[in-house]
Every structure is written in structure tokens, then in C-alpha cells.
Symmetry: C2
Subunit: 437 residues, 2 copies
């Protein structure tokens, strides 16, 4: 049986996970694929750092020079699980130029610099795999590229950041506020000491960029996205949403708009409580999609962690190794831009339904003033809730579910409403997604 040598850039949680899964299930994988995967070298940042030396590997298994791994003639596939941008990009480009197949889990790098990397790989005839970059153990890259190849995708809606889903779940189930839930997530190891990219929505946004790039064959500039984190969600919003039959999830939304453009964004979003996505709780991820041939489909699983990510990396390794073995250029790698879709829709032009929460003077005529302001901007109210309880400052709370409107139009209306004397800014604005079609 042929053995394919693999080099690791990075030996943290994911790198070690890949090593251990191959040690544990290597025989099974070899029986299934006909190829044996062997990790022959691993680059780490600091050789002096105390780490358990894996059983059965030579003393020079570790190096602190990525170039040693890339240049090693035994290494035919370079697995990048070190993270980072500039330096890491240089390593990957070096590997591609050396003709090594690349497997990477680096969503930030691919979302920010993917075009340069994929175009270089195409020129060099080298495969770049990235299943582990998006939604961990959920094989959404393979599904979009291969399983649903027959489909024009109408939409994707994903819960693709486990940390923020854990926080929102705890806020919903235990009534915690954001700070309490974040603290609990950190204590459980579900949030990092610096949770910025998780709670501000950008981790999910990077994954959404990769999904949309692949599904629609277009390069996407992150600056084109509308991204809102869960730090803007209050415990009271979750409670009001629940009362109205909705759950709040950090939702990555990708949708073909009526004019053929594609909208890509990440927002805390009210979704119907009886939709399957609403029951995706804790650190789990899920992605619902609609294809014009297959209809509705949904994938659910762990989006992060050593095991799920290692499972995805090894899936790529098996695809890469069998392609090397059969000396074919695998279809299942890289991103192939194509000509059938137009462009990203500017965030202000995206239409959505919205939830609007306002603190208002408890006097007659207030609702009329607000409804009139919305009406002047052509925005209808589909339902309203004014609960008995007032906010701590003694103001009434007003929750309005708004009809579909252009985001830019809505923001203009909200600015006007915030300037009304009877309204105490800021207004709270969240997306509402019925998840139909």
C-alpha cells in the first residue's frame, strides 16, 4: 500500500488532534481509501515549550522552521493548522510553489486573502483543500462543491459560531445577560480569553465568505459584508422575542436577491421557534440551505474543537492523498470562479424584516408618531407589543415587528425616530428571518 507523507504546520489543539486521530484510526482509513497517511514532520513555534512527545515518532519530528516541513522531500501534503495571516500566507505560497498539496483550516486567511492563494494554486496546478475552515465537523464545503453540484443555491442560513450560540442559548434558557453568559462560556472552555472575533460576528463572517465564494464562484471583499455581533443582544430582546414566538440566533445569511446579486451578512436574527435551526443549541453549529433542485437541506454538528476539526482535516487528507495516488488533479479543491452570478449586494440594498425595540415616553400619541415616521419611509408594521413592565428609567417599551424593507431605508427611518422627543435613543434593531425558501 502506498504511503503519503504529511507535514504539519502547527501542533496545537487541532494539529495534535489530527495526529492522534491518524494514530488511532490509521488502519481503518487505509482500508477504506487504499492509501496510508503518515505525518512525518511538524513545525511548532517554540521547540522549548514542554509538550508530550507523541509515541513512535523520531526525536527530530518537531522543528521550529516551517520551511523544514515544506521542503522535506517526504512531505507531499502540507497541513496548515497554525493560524495567523502574513507569515502563514507566505508558508502556504511557498508550499504551493514547491508543488505540495495544501490542506488548511485557516478561515481568516482564506476569507481575507483566499483569492491570491487560490489563483496561485490554479497557476501551479496544485490542490488547496479547506473543509476544516468552515463549521468544523460539518462537511459543508464538500456538500456545496460535490453533493449539491446540480443546484443553484437560493440561500444559506447558518449558525456557524459555537461560542456565540452557546452564549445565546444560555441567555435564552437560563435568562443570563450577555456578560454572565460570556463568563460562563469562558469557564467552560467554549470562549477564548479574547472572544472578540466570536462575539463581534467576524468569525462567522469569515466562514460565510468562504461558503458564498464557493457556492457562487465569486471573490468577496470582507468590506462588502454587513456584520453585527451578539454583544448587541440584550436579555430583554431574547425575552420579548420568545414571547412573540421567535428565538434569537447569530445567523450567517447568504441569499440570492431578486436582481441576481448575492447578499452576505451576519446578524443576531429572530427565527421562528419551531424551525429546526431554533433547536440548535449550545456549541453546536448547523447550516440550512435551499437548492433549486434538492429543495431544503440542513447539516448539524460540532463546529469547533479538536475532534471535529481533525475529522474534517483528515477528510481533506484522504481526498488529497487519493488524488496524488491516482495522479489526477482533484476537482474537489480550490475555488473555481465562474461567470453565472453577478456581484455582492451592498448591505444597504439588502431587504429584510426587522425587530425594533424602543424606549418611549408613556404618553398618548407616541405609537402614532413612530408609525407615521415609519410610514414616511414606506415601512409597514406587521405586529406590535407594548408590555406592562417599564424599563429601569420608567419609560415604556415598544416592540415593533416590521415588514420587509431595504436596510438603508430602515436605518434612515430609525435615525428619524431616534430624534423624536418622545423616544429615548438608541433604538434596538435586529433582523427577522422567516427561513422560508
Amino acid at each position: 500500500m502506498e504511503t503519503i507523507g504529511v507535514g504539519l504546520l502547527g501542533f496545537g489543539t487541532v494539529g495534535r488532534g489530527v495526529f492522534e486521530a491518524l494514530a488511532m484510526n490509521g488502519d481503518l482509513i487505509a482500508e477504506r481509501t487504499g492509501v496510508r497517511l503518515q505525518i512525518v514532520r511538524a513545525a511548532v513555534r517554540d521547540l522549548a515549550k514542554t509538550r508530550v512527545h507523541p509515541a513512535g515518532v523520531p526525536l527530530d519530528f518537531f522543528t521550529d522552521r516551517a520551511a523544514d516541513v515544506i521542503a522535506d522531500p517526504r512531505v507531499r501534503i502540507v497541513v496548515e493548522v497554525m493560524g495567523g495571516l502574513d507569515e502563514t500566507q507566505a508558508h502556504l505560497e511557498q508550499a504551493i510553489r514547491a508543488g505540495k498539496t495544501v490542506v488548511t483550516a485557516n478561515k481568516a486567511l482564506l476569507a481575507e486573502r483566499g483569492r491570491a492563494i487560490f489563483e496561485l494554486a490554479a497557476r501551479e496546478g496544485v490542490a488547496v483543500f479547506f473543509e476544516a475552515s468552515t463549521a468544523g465537523g460539518i462537511p459543508i464545503i464538500k456538500a456545496v462543491r460535490e453533493a449539491f453540484v446540480a443546484n443553484h443555491f437560493t440561500s444559506f442560513h447558518g449558525i456557524i459560531n459555537g461560542t456565540s450560540n452557546y452564549i445565546l442559548t444560555r441567555m435564552t434558557e437560563a435568562g443570563l445577560d450577555f456578560a454572565q453568559a460570556l463568563q460562563e462560556a469562558q469557564a467552560q472552555g467554549y470562549a477564548e480569553a479574547d472572544p472578540t472575533l466570536d462575539v463581534n460576528g467576524w468569525d462567522a463572517a469569515h466562514k460565510a465568505i468562504l461558503l458564498a465564494t464557493l457556492a457562487y464562484g465569486i471573490w468577496i471583499d470582507p468590506a462588502q459584508l454587513s456584520v453585527q455581533g451578539i454583544d448587541s443582544v440584550g436579555a430583554e430582546d431574547i425575552a420579548f422575542a420568545k414571547q412573540l414566538g421567535w428565538r434569537i440566533k447569530l445567523l450567517a445569511g447568504i441569499r440570492v436577491q431578486p436582481d441576481g446579486g448575492v447578499s452576505v451578512g451576519v446578524h443576531p436574527t429572530l427565527i421562528p421557534q419551531d424551525h429546526v435551526l431554533a433547536s440548535v443549541n449550545g456549541v453546536f453549529n448547523a447550516i440550512a440551505l435551499h437548492g433549486d433542485v434538492v429543495g431544503d437541506a440542513l447539516f448539524y454538528g460540532r463546529g469547533a474543537g479538536s475532534g471535529p476539526t481533525a475529522s474534517a482535516v483528515i477528510s481533506d487528507l484522504a481526498d488529497a492523498a487519493t488524488a496524488l495516488f491516482s495522479k489526477s488533479v482533484p476537482r474537489c479543491s480550490g475555488v473555481r470562479p465562474h461567470s453565472l452570478y453577478g456581484r455582492i449586494v451592498p448591505p444597504d440594498d439588502v431587504t429584510s424584516r426587522f425587530y425594533l425595540r424602543l424606549a418611549v415616553e408613556d404618553t398618548p400619541g407616541v405609537l402614532g408618531q413612530i408609525a407615521s415616521a415609519l410610514g414616511r419611509h414606506g415601512i409597514g408594521i406587521s405586529s406590535a407589543l407594548q408590555p406592562e413592565q417599564h424599563d429601569p428609567a420608567g419609560r415604556a417599551q415598544l416592540i415593533l415587528m416590521l415588514d420587509r424593507a431595504r436596510s438603508g431605508q430602515l436605518r434612515a427611518a430609525v435615525r428619524e425616530i431616534e430624534s423624536l422627543p418622545c423616544v429615548q435613543p438608541p433604538a434596538k434593531l435586529l433582523r427577522v428571518e422567516t427561513l422560508k425558501g
Copy 2:
């Protein structure tokens, strides 16, 4: 761009679906894969039958001889969507011997005769693809073979028969009895005039055999399975289960047993109402699996119908075509038996928790007699329910949730209980699955 010629055996709902999806999205598929798929010939049973002649195909597109399609030198991939056993097997074997790649949606054929077909294909070096055979639009074959290649699978639990799931959903939501719900399913087009294979569990069993064969690399004789249909589920069972916090689903279960054997079966099963599978309603399918590396994952989608099945067939076509294009033997086809798992566990040796419903005399001491009988067989009771309402014959109803027990042992205990004078046979026995691990 290279064009790959495709021949269809069958032009019913699925065959026409494949043709139409390729007509609609052929340009997109070609951009994505670099290969153009063209259906050049289709075999139908009856040429005289009135059918809409597809646009843009020559008059001799249809033939009533499958051999014409197989022998056509333009045809490099034969798609079998005609159903049937003996004659169809002969066609597929003829195609394989002619060196044509085979794509089939025929679960019954592969479950009953797969070994002969896959072994012939392996000898001839020909690829056989079968994504559409199992769970329609859900890409579970690709997931098991490729995406989760790193995993030993602990278990699979699937709702993989849309007809029976529709019937159970309507019984649960609208309180219909089995006959009413079946009638409604037929009126909606979700059940065929002869619904036997759907309601007796064998359609799901065929899919479970394919999944287990692929996941564990073993050939499975259908006679080794325990299969129970939904025709045995009463409206009262659904109501009692609901009262106790469970939903009844027709569940295909595949599980590695403590001794390393694999159990495969299909049963109406009580599952926890808050598990994601419990919210899979109507004609939708879903498969939950647990892998030792990836952990829990779940796929959800449409399991039948023209579009979802066509989407799966075209996924196979794209894999097959790109493999032909690159002249490699694709890994992603056929079944590769391997040596790492033992055998199918005989149904009587499979352990499970159970739900037992009895009609009993409403006299003191009855529960004691029943509990003693169970105790003699080493079976514990985890909870009991005796509702106020009696059955139409004036007997009390007794619902017992039993601890885990060997199926054979339990059946022996139930036979003994049914012979007690205070018990009116037959007892109703259903599986209970907590879906943990």
C-alpha cells in the same frame, strides 16, 4: 470542454427529473466541474406510452431496449432509475462488463444483490455510484465514505422513509389513526397505491443495509435484520408516548455493540421529544450519526421525490464524469469490504430499552404479577403509567418503560406475561432509544 455521454435506464419521475435538472443547470454544472454531462439515450418500458418529448433531443432518443443504451458508444455512464430486481441486475452487469460507469438509485437491488454487483464492478475496474439510493437529497453516502472517513462510527439513527414519517407526524399532530393517516398520505401523493414496503419498514431497511455495508465494510444478508413497520403503531401509543415526553418515529438503527458486532434494524421507536430528530416531521428524512473523532452530526433533507433524487444522481454523475475525465479510478464508488469489523448481531442478541403496553384486568395485584414475571427474566421497570381511561373493552391500560434488555430475553418475558390470566393479549412492544452516544 469535454462532454461525457450519459444513458438513462428509465424515464419516470426520477429519470425525467435528472433530464430536466441537467437541462436547467447544465451550464452551471459545467462551469463548476469542467465537464459537460449530456444525456444521449433513454430506455423506457413502453415506447407507445404518451409522454412529453423533451425539447432538443432527436426522435430516436427513446428506445425500449436497455441494451441499446448500454451498447451506445457515446454512453460512458449508465444511470439506472427504472427499479426492479432480476432484469435490472442483468442490465447493470451488462453495463459493467461493457466498461460503463454505473449510477443507480435502486436501493432494493443493492440491498438484496449488492455484493454480486459490487464484486463484479471491482473485478472489471468499473465504478458504481449509489448516492440516490439512500435518503434522496441527503448526501449520506458521500458523507460516510468521504467526509467522515476518519471515524469509527458508533451508531446511526435515521428517519429514512418519508411516507411513514408523514403518517406518524399526522397521527401525532392531528390525532389520526393509522388508516386515516395513510389515506391522507395517499391523497397527498406521499404514499403509493401499494404502500407495503413503506409501512412495513423494508424500504428503510434496504437503506439501512446500504449504510451499514458502507460504514462497516461488511456484506449484510437482509435476513439478518430485525424489521418492524409502523402498521403496528396505535394512536394510543403515540398519545401515551407524548404524555411521557417521547415521540414515536420509524427509526433505522445501526449500532456497534459492546462485543464489536453491528446491530442493524428498523423499528417504530420512542425517542426523546427534545432531540433534533423528534422535530423531523412530514416527508422529511434525517440521519444522526456518532463518530469517534467527529462526535455527533446530523443531516436533514428530502428523502424522495424527483428533485432531491435527481440532485443526488447528478452528484454521482459529476463524480463519475470527472473521474472519467482524469482517467482515475474513483475512490468514491462501490463498496470496499474490509477486515476491521466482525459481523451482524442476531436480532435476539441486540439490547434496547422498551415500551410495553398491556390491557389488564382492573384488579389489585396485577402490576405485581407482571413485575414479577419481568423480574424472573432479569428485566427492570424504569417507569410506569396507568391512565384513568380504560380501553373499549373496559380493561385498564398499563404502560411500562423497561430497562435495557436483550430482545430475545424480553420477547420470552412478554410471552409469559401474555399468558397471565389477568392480561389480555397481545401486548404492544416498541423500542425506546435515548439517542445518547
